[in-house]
Symmetry: C2
Subunit: 350 residues, 2 copies
């Protein structure tokens, strides 16, 4: 026998509902799952009693029976600093969550040190049937998770991409055209030497932006320089200092994220320079952060919760085994604020 030592509180089961309604357990199940084969009056009576007694089907029993966990998973393999500072993650989670909870599907979250650990979490989740599928974020170059998840056979969708081999469905966003818009804006203002403070080059989306940045700059005959960071504010400040203390400092800097941009702004001020007088600044992600600093930052605005929603819908389709291809979400738009302007003639070098 496997009953717990003593119940914390006598728990209500579908049998209780059935007894009170004078029907069988099967009828209760039918009523709850809106299946035909029950008179409306019986159905209504059963539902009313369930409601009154505050009964919901035991999720474990249901999961066992229908072979579905009614839960999706998300593992985050980033440093705590990045996770806590970047508004992106919470906004994304909010989108995911809203889509999931409207269908009474739970969201299970875990953090991991690196992508290999992440993959072993996925393996375990799937072996335990704890989740029905997962969302995978922060796609890396030669990402071991893609192959790993694909062979696992667990429904999964990649946030980012697109993936050339199509091993996994993905929901992506056109980075190149956004970068194009930014560079156009800067070139239009008259900037000739621009720079980019990028995230980790091992991230596919950062790498894609790097390429787009270089190409677009070349097309417009601008000199373009790229400094890499690990997404932390310190590294953003460092990169900014490095760029601005070169022989031919850029007159505009494009940052990969809002956090990097804000820390870059701090460094510009610390160097005794002004924005946008000496340097123009563009943030690659928008958030209220960009709006509360002085000057407010020109930034790329995009609907991140919607990104989460799209990814979740795609995952749900994968779980239902509905074949749909990759999905592209609307690209971000540049919002011009006070941090970008025409460059000064030429700064007196100290």
């Amino acid at each position: 026998m496997a009953a717990p030592k003593e119940d914390r509180a006598r728990r209500v089961t579908s049998s209780d509902i059935a007894r009170r309604a004078g029907v069988s357990k099967g009828a209760v199940s039918f009523a709850l799952n809106e299946r035909p084969g029950l008179s409306d009056s019986t159905r209504a009576r059963i539902l009313a009693i369930a409601e009154e007694m505050g009964w919901y089907p035991n999720s474990a029993a249901r999961a066992l029976s229908v072979a579905r966990a009614h839960a999706c998973g998300l593992v985050l393999a980033r440093t705590l600093t990045t996770l806590s500072l970047e508004p992106f993650f919470m906004e994304f989670i909010a989108g995911v969550e809203s889509e999931l909870s409207s269908r009474s599907i739970a969201l299970t979250i875990q953090m991991a040190e690196d992508v290999d650990k992440e993959l072993s979490i996925h393996r375990r989740w799937w072996a335990e049937r704890r989740v029905d599928g997962v969302l995978m974020v922060d796609l890396r170059k030669n990402d071991p998770r893609v192959e790993g998840l694909a062979r696992l056979g667990m429904p999964a969708v990649v946030v980012g991409g697109p993936l050339k081999n199509g091993a996994l469905p993905c929901v992506w966003h056109d980075e190149a055209s956004v970068i194009g818009e930014i560079v156009d804006h800067l070139a239009g203002l008259g900037h000739r030497r621009i720079a980019r403070v990028a995230g980790l080059a091992s991230f596919v989306h950062s790498a894609a932006r790097n390429n787009a940045f270089r190409q677009k700059a070349r097309a417009l005959s601008l000199s373009a320089e790229i400094a890499s960071t690990d997404f932390s504010p310190e590294s953003g400040a460092d990169a900014t200092r490095r760029l601005l203390s070169g022989a031919e400092p850029p007159t505009a800097i494009v940052y990969d994220s809002d956090v990097l941009a804000v820390s870059g702004l701090g460094m510009v001020h610390e160097l005794g320079l002004s924005v946008p007088g000496d340097v123009s600044i563009v943030a690659g992600d928008d958030s209220l952060l960009c709006q509360v600093v002085g000057p407010p930052l020109t930034a790329v605005e995009r609907d991140i919760p919607a990104y989460g929603v799209a990814a979740t819908r795609r995952l749900l389709d994968a779980i239902e085994e509905n074949a749909v291809g990759d999905i592209q979400v609307p690209r971000g738009r540049l919002t011009v604020r006070g941090s970008t302007a025409r460059p000064r003639r030429r700064r007196i070098r100290v």
Copy 2:
């Protein structure tokens, strides 16, 4: 029969392990749960086979059998803006998660519009036995969740407090002494008119800080003013403007969070004033945000992941029905940076 239409992939069960090991299912269970009654060699063989086949017990079956979900819940009832901007939440979640995952317990997260919706999520989770217990954050005055959770009988711990009626265990933090340290610091620098930009007064922790602020100021014969906000950056900027455009503006402002402080700093600059020359600023929460703005902000530093860890441990105890009382976590410490200094004599009023 309740088998799924067709298995996505033949799934491994404990029977498979048992067969391969030449033992019964019971033996597999014993091996896995480290129970006596098995020879070491048999145990090792079973474990090795399970490992090799990548088998983990089906979580639904186990949950059903042991009447435990092996999952804990957290619902967040804040605006998306606050959630995404305040580093607090992710850091807290990281702490919770680390404690949970080290014991293979899942964390289920959901967002809610308000505390009433939150309570109904709790009710449902508990009725479904989807979680074994929950953490409750952002304690409000006369919080309906306390009473609600208490009568539900679901293990729950309140993050914040302390609760006077002891309806639920809590893990709290001494707000008053931190505020005391801040005000002492400011008074020590010579400030006589100080102000506080507070969060929502309906939040117990904000209210506690309000009281402490007033009392401490009175004790030191300082004039103290409080402006309330909804934690959003805009409201922080507004409150700052209001305070500084009064007849007798404060020479120092204490903010309830890092986000409020940073937006306040932006407003101070926008008003053409300098920090700390014209106004000193203290942030009630520290984060790298405070360190990357110019000047870096004097702030209260505390170990938020550790707060999450403590709360989680307390919850796990509640679930195991181990009686332990409320827990107080170490208070934050003031880190003095460049945003606080002696006040100027008296500013020329415009």
